[in-house]
């Protein structure tokens, strides 16, 4: 594995290897007084972030530092999309600086794939437009595995703005590959036009979709969607597609509630649900560091020295 761009490109055994390594990373570091492994000493990891995302950037930074890598934060406020330095020129600069891995977050779908043409190092997609966010899907899968005892045969409902969600696009392929039943729920306006080929069923009825779900993943509704006729009002959205306590009660007792954050409390998720013990939201954040350690380790060592 040279790069991590999408979960669609991952083989099942590669995904399972990453999840196994994630567990090992959590164990290896958790007991230590100094929570660090020497594995990537002397290697340089560049965080190239074209979108403000303190959460994801911090998670990658922490992961790299726990593996003793040198971390360079290259925060790019502008890109060629809005007339700044071109991605290619930035890539050539990073290449000249000798980056072993580039973690890229970019508003344009496909930017990480373009980057692989211009740098020799590993490219790790930390979210590109509405395309993919593979480490989010991996940390979600790891969280489900831990909470539900496995993924094979489990039913996962992904609810909300599927159309604009890179989180959904990465989760669908990964969960299906790992043997889960994936169910997409949202208004037709927020579902892509032609998804017959996706390994997922589609429903517009959240109540019905929850009764046998082992996990529900609530997606954030972006502010800018609220004024563009995707749905009439935020109230109506919350009524039809928000997760409140009544709906939580429809789910089996063991079922968990996930959210990639940041949340709109009262919109897609009620505050009491977000704070309930069945919500895994902070656990997802913690697991994110282990997953990113596992991926960085795998990409930079090819699994050579554990």
């Amino acid at each position: 594995m040279k790069h991590l761009l999408t979960t669609k490109q991952l083989e099942r055994d590669e995904a399972e290897l990453i999840l196994d390594l994630t567990g090992q990373m959590a164990e290896a570091v958790s007991g230590r007084e100094v929570p660090k492994l020497p594995t990537l000493r002397g290697r340089t990891v560049v965080n190239l972030f074209y979108e403000d995302s303190t959460r994801t950037r911090t998670s990658f930074e922490t992961a790299a530092k726990r593996l003793s890598a040198d971390v360079v934060n290259f925060s790019a406020k502008t890109s060629s999309v809005n007339k700044g330095e071109s991605l290619r020129d930035t890539a050539l600069t990073l290449q000249a600086m000798g980056a072993d891995a580039v973690v890229i977050r970019h508003p344009a779908a496909g930017a990480p794939q373009r980057l692989t043409e211009w740098v020799d190092g590993a490219v790790l997609n930390a979210g590109d437009g509405t395309h993919a966010h593979p480490t989010q899907a991996l940390l979600d899968a790891y969280t489900m595995q831990r909470r539900l005892g496995g993924i094979e045969g489990r039913t996962v409902a992904i609810v909300g703005d599927i159309l604009h969600s890179r989180v959904a696009r990465s989760n669908i392929w990964l969960l299906a590959k790992l043997g889960a039943n994936v169910r997409l729920v949202g208004p037709p306006t927020l579902l892509p036009n032609d998804i017959d080929a996706w390994p997922a069923e589609v429903s517009y009825d959240l109540d019905a979709a929850l009764t046998d779900a082992d996990a529900v993943m609530m997606l954030r509704v972006q502010r800018e969607r609220m004024n563009d006729a995707f749905f009439p009002t935020t109230n109506e959205y919350a009524r039809l597609f928000g997760l409140d306590e009544r709906r939580l009660a429809l789910m089996p007792d063991h079922a968990i509630v996930m959210h990639p954050g940041p949340m709109n409390r009262g919109m897609e998720i009620a505050a009491r649900v977000a704070d309930s013990p069945r919500a895994t939201i902070t656990e997802q954040v913690a697991n994110g560091v282990w997953v990113r350690m596992a991926v960085l380790y795998l990409l930079l060592t090819n699994g050579a020295s554990a």
């Binding site: 890109s79 060629s80 508003p107 779908a109 794939q113 032609d194």
Partner: protein, 431 residues
């Protein structure tokens, strides 16, 4: 000055020698070269009327770093073209008599192909007020086609007025059919591939809705209308039905829509980004059938050169458009069944005669016959070639066919009897 084209197969109808003298076809038959005449050995080659492109972006004035009238018409000549219609979206926009006359003059100075400017429908392509269509029609550039290409004339009232107004001088509105509210932010065809790639979709209905509306408008006001670069199976059906009803409608298709599909976007390489976008296999099949049948009247390149920085970037940051002039004939032949099975008369009709009629270019699109202007193209049907971007005559290299092997080569192009291309190479204008 005279040239004897020896032994060419005339549009696949049979072999003959063609004597060209003083810019016109003088004689056809079994001929010997008169004293002082040059002889071009055309054994095994097909002779076609010179190709005519209804849709070329020459980028001059304004973006001479991407293409100039000279390099664009050199690319045209290499592709077998003797005339190109230059789209109006230059900087400044070709919305006045002054700009269209400048473009026409640059074409004459270059000398590689006739350049017929297309005028803008609206001032600055803004879709608000009509440009001075009459002034452009009366100018030395004698503009007959008007288009806001790149933008749709989406205001139905403006479109109605434009369709009516050009009747004064036998003009034609060439519509870029794209309902803009349905394509806001669109990056590629809306469908399974866009759903997977997370690129905002350009729904086919955005084209079809405008085509349907404008067919009705043209019928209502009794004018004719032409549709640029149609790209969907459903558009073909709307035009087929309109023609059957007797509406005066014509349509063009681009080579890339006859060959490539939205699957190419999986690479995220913006060389495949174009507007209207690459569609699906089903659309390609429908467009090929429509081209063979004649529901689509003409092949037009939408040749759209772009500087490297406008393509060497993220998909969303790239400008839409691809080169077309030097590959169009090969792809047309492939789309019509390949060099062995295609009907050369249909090739001539779709690439030369029909576009010349639509563009009102009486000197072009004429089969070789005594008295006709000698705008001719010699094609080798048995030779294929591999597309190498750096070897193209265009100033830009944004061809989507890099590395592909394509059928048939253009061996020679004659513009009013003068060779602009010989042995597949540009003839430098030194005499």
């Amino acid at each position: 000055m005279s040239t004897l084209i020896k032994g060419a197969d005339l549009l696949g109808r049979g072999r003959a020698d063609v004597l060209v003298r003083d810019g016109r076809v003088a004689e056809i038959g079994t001929l010997t070269a008169p004293a002082g005449a040059e002889t071009v050995d055309a054994d095994g080659l097909i002779l076609l009327p010179g190709l005519v492109d209804l849709h070329t972006h020459l980028r001059e004035p304004g973006r001479e770093d991407a293409e100039t009238v000279l390099t664009g018409t050199q690319a045209a000549a290499k592709g077998g073209y003797t005339a190109v219609c230059a789209m109006a979206n230059s900087y400044p926009v070709a919305d006045t008599a002054g700009v269209v006359e400048q473009v026409a003059a640059l074409g004459r100075a270059a000398g590689y192909a006739d350049v017929q400017p297309i005028g803008a429908v609206s001032i600055g392509l803004a879709g608000e007020r009509l440009a001075e269509l009459g002034a452009m029609a009366d100018s030395a550039a004698r503009v007959r086609i008007f288009s806001d290409d790149g933008h749709c004339v989406h205001d139905p009232r403006l479109m109605r007025r434009a369709l009516e107004y050009v009747k004064t001088f036998g003009g034609l509105i060439a519509q870029h059919a794209e309902e803009p509210r349905l394509t806001e932010g669109a990056e590629m065809n809306e469908g399974a591939v866009s759903a997977e790639l997370g690129l905002p979709g350009w729904p086919s209905v955005a084209e079809e809705a405008i085509v349907a509306r404008d067919v009705l408008l043209a019928e209502y006001v009794g004018s004719r209308v032409h549709f640029c670069h149609i790209s969907t199976a459903r558009t073909v059906e709307i035009i087929r039905e309109a023609k059957a009803r007797g509406v005066d409608v014509t349509a063009e298709v681009c080579p890339h829509h006859l060959l490539l599909t939205d699957e190419a976007a999986h690479s995220y390489d913006p060389v495949f980004k174009v507007n209207p976008p690459l569609r699906t296999d089903r659309d390609v099949a429908a467009l090929r059938a429509a081209l063979a049948e004649g529901v689509v009247d003409a092949v037009a390149t939408d040749h759209a050169p772009h500087a490297p920085q406008d393509k060497d970037c993220e998909w969303a940051a790239a400008r839409p458009g691809m080169l077309g002039l030097e590959t169009a004939l090969s792809i047309t032949v492939a789309a019509l069944g390949g060099p062995e099975d295609c009907d050369w008369d249909t090739v001539a009709e779709r690439t030369s005669r029909a576009p010349a009629r639509i563009a009102s270019l009486p000197g072009h699109g004429r089969d070789p016959e005594p008295g006709a202007e000698a705008n001719l193209t010699l094609v080798d049907p048995s030779e294929s070639w591999t597309v190498v971007p750096s070897e193209l005559a265009s100033l830009s290299q944004n061809t989507p066919y890099a590395g592909m092997e394509l059928p048939v080569t253009v061996q020679a192009t004659f513009l009013r009897g003068r060779a602009t291309v010989l042995d597949g190479k540009l003839v430098e204008e030194t005499e």
